[in-house]
């Protein structure tokens, strides 16, 4: 079942230095119980995409697009109904679990708050449910831990608390914005494991945002690759790793360390990400693209279906149409 469908989402920030085209014409869909990976370099618009779905863009404007959740158009929903979606239907966890938890309230208190916002239960019931949630996300001696403040927990434990808070209402969609970026490798894989467990338990769809293709390989069913505010390629995870189409995706995959060949230095894509306030006419990737041709300077490529569920936005593939 299609749970969430994003079409032509465009979000901009109007700053003194110009218009930041943070998210431009982004489309993807999420299916029940599946994980969609959203991958791209930092600053390419991943977080803004997620926050636009939640309609939490106070300083910017969602200029156009559709976000359809189970048939309902979220971008047109009255604010009161949107609040019921936030946390209730679509929950979110963030990159920095320490900064994402309020320092002056106990973690138990913050989870209970998430429960009572969406469910009509007594405080007592919410508290015993909160203890169960802490147990579920693998926090030892949950009763004592519930009285702790965020700073008293380790990074991994804090992210578990964030997860407990997010799943407290059994949302259909979990948006995880770089959930493991701030964590040690071993802790990170434990958190990913926990997310996988909870996903199969609650049949959640996960939007997993990351800049780490390793995490994508481990977790995702499908991948959307983002570059300078746009989706450049979207494919099933197997296809993408076996046969990347977009030159940017190819570049990203070449940058992955190869354990067999053990090169002495890691490859990088030459050049810089363009300034989102001042994008070139034509393809955003033209300056760094080894395959760039004349048309790349002149026209914007569009996302086209190249078969077997793969979409790519590149002139090299548009000619074949």
């Amino acid at each position: 079942m299609k749970v969430l469908e994003v079409r032509g989402l465009t979000t901009r920030f109007y700053t003194l230095e110009g218009v930041v085209k943070a998210v431009e014409n982004v489309s993807f869909e999420m299916w029940g119980g599946k994980t969609l990976g959203l991958v791209g370099e930092s600053g390419c618009g991943k977080t803004v995409t997620a926050l636009s779905i939640m309609r939490l863009i106070p300083q910017g404007e969602i200029v156009s697009g559709n976000v359809r959740y189970k048939g309902r158009e979220l971008l047109k929903l009255p604010e009161g109904e949107m609040r019921r979606i936030r946390g209730g239907e679509i929950a979110m966890i963030f990159q920095e679990p320490l900064l994402s938890l309020n320092p002056v309230f106990t973690i138990g208190n913050q989870i209970v708050e998430a429960i009572v916002v969406h469910k009509r239960t007594s405080r007592m019931e919410a508290e015993s449910f909160m203890i169960k949630l802490l147990e579920l996300v693998g926090i030892p001696s949950p009763r004592e831990m519930a009285g702790c403040y965020p700073h008293q927990l380790s990074g991994g434990m804090r992210q578990r608390v964030m997860i407990a808070m997010a799943i407290s209402t059994q949302p259909s969609v979990l948006i995880a914005d770089e959930p493991t970026t701030a964590l040690d490798v071993t802790i990170a894989s434990q958190i990913l494991e926990l997310m996988r467990e909870l996903q199969s338990k609650f049949k959640m769809s996960i939007l997993l945002i990351t800049h780490d293709l390793g995490v994508i390989a481990e977790m995702a069913d499908a991948v959307a690759v983002m570059y300078a505010g746009e989706i450049v390629e979207c494919a099933e995870v197997g296809h993408l790793f076996k046969k990347p189409l977009h030159p940017y995706t190819k570049g990203l995959l070449e940058c992955l360390p190869d354990p067999v060949r053990r090169e002495t230095y890691l490859k990088t894509i030459p050049g810089h990400v363009p300034d989102l306030r001042n994008l070139p006419s034509g393809c955003n990737f033209q300056d760094r693209c080894p395959y760039a041709i004349q048309v790349c300077k002149e026209a914007k490529p569009h996302l086209v279906d190249v078969g077997s569920g793969t979409f790519v936005s590149c002139h090299l593939y548009q000619e074949e149409l």
Binding site: R84, R86, G87, M92, S100, N102, P103, A114, H151, M165
Partner: protein, 321 residues
């Protein structure tokens, strides 16, 4: 915690000692002498000498200091001016000053916090800009000048007396009328005393709130589905108030200094006015004792602020370091 409080308290003692020494020296260096204030120039030198002896003014400065200390603690410190025990004089004046200052503190926090929060939540609106303008005026305007203007204006408009603590020579008032008369007399002086604090702290509260609203945990609170009011008044306010607690300690010296001016202008029978009169008549024992009490209150205020901060912010726990 108890250990920390005790340690901080003991640390105050040398500071207090230092302040009294410096005050003592300054007072005695300042031109004029207690005797010159009391006698006319034709008094015979013999009587002058006798009086100097009487007041210990013939002894070296450091001996005089210790004599003052000894008399203060044995309760045998008498005013140069009227021979009354200094502590008794202060005790008589204390209630008036306490009422004035406590009212001012309540006014300061009662107005400054809501004003600051309002300005922050309506940033750059007309009212916020007006608030900024008024705050600058409030901070820079001299209290005594504003006091005279207000006294003139209010007396002209209402025809009611505003000086002193109550209206004299009005007989047969019932309790309620008496209370209203007292409150009426309290309004202007406490407001004048509070204005600088309201102006300064409301701006401080505004920037503190704006700082907090940018934090990640505010985004988390929205993502939970909380309303804007819940986010502001529960999650943001609690954090934004923390730095305001520290301000409480700095408020006291300003209030003490302000009391001297406001009490003098409004003929308020408090310690501030007593201090002013004692300085004019070079009543060394009284001035010194008031100075010491003021220094003590200031140190005590900072200590109380520190303790309150530790209670309010769970991240601060004074260890056994």
């Amino acid at each position: 915690m108890t250990k920390y409080v005790l340690k901080r308290f003991l640390q105050c003692i040398p500071t207090l000692f230092g302040i009294t020494v410096i005050s003592f020296v300054i007072i005695h260096i300042a031109p004029g002498s207690p005797i010159g204030m009391q006698l006319n120039p034709k008094t015979s030198p013999k009587i002058v000498e006798e009086m100097r002896k009487n007041y210990d003014l013939d002894k070296p400065l450091h001996i005089q200091y210790f004599l003052w200390l000894k008399k203060l603690f044995s309760g045998r410190l008498y005013s140069f001016k009227d021979g009354k025990p200094v502590l008794q004089k202060i005790r008589e004046r204390l209630p008036a000053t306490l009422i004035l200052n406590i009212t001012s503190i309540l006014l300061i926090f009662g107005f400054a916090i809501p004003l600051g929060v309002f300005s922050a939540t309506h940033r750059y609106s007309f009212l916020d800009n007006l608030g900024t303008l008024l705050a600058y005026i409030g901070i820079s305007i001299p209290g005594f000048w504003l006091a005279y203007i207000l006294i003139l204006g209010v007396v002209k408009l209402s025809g009611m007396p505003v000086l002193g603590m109550r209206t004299f020579a009005v007989e047969g008032l019932r309790f309620l009328e008496l209370a209203l008369d007292r409150i009426w007399h309290l309004v202007l002086p406490s407001l004048i005393l509070a204005i600088g604090g309201i102006a300064g702290i409301s701006r401080y509260m505004r920037s503190s709130m704006l700082e907090v609203i940018r934090q990640d945990y505010i985004r988390t609170a929205y993502a939970k589905g909380l309303t804007e009011d819940e986010v502001y008044y529960k999650h943001a306010l609690r954090n934004a108030l923390l730095p305001i607690i520290t301000i409480f300690g700095f408020l006291i010296p300003g209030l003490i200094g302000g009391s001297v001016i406001v009490e003098t202008v409004f003929a308020w029978p408090g310690i501030g006015r007593l201090a002013y009169q004692s300085v004019l008549s070079r009543d060394y024992p009284t001035v010194m004792t008031i100075m010491t009490i003021s220094a003590f209150l200031t140190l005590f205020g900072t200590l109380v602020a520190d303790i309150l901060y530790a209670v309010a912010d769970p991240r601060i726990r004074y260890g056994t370091k």
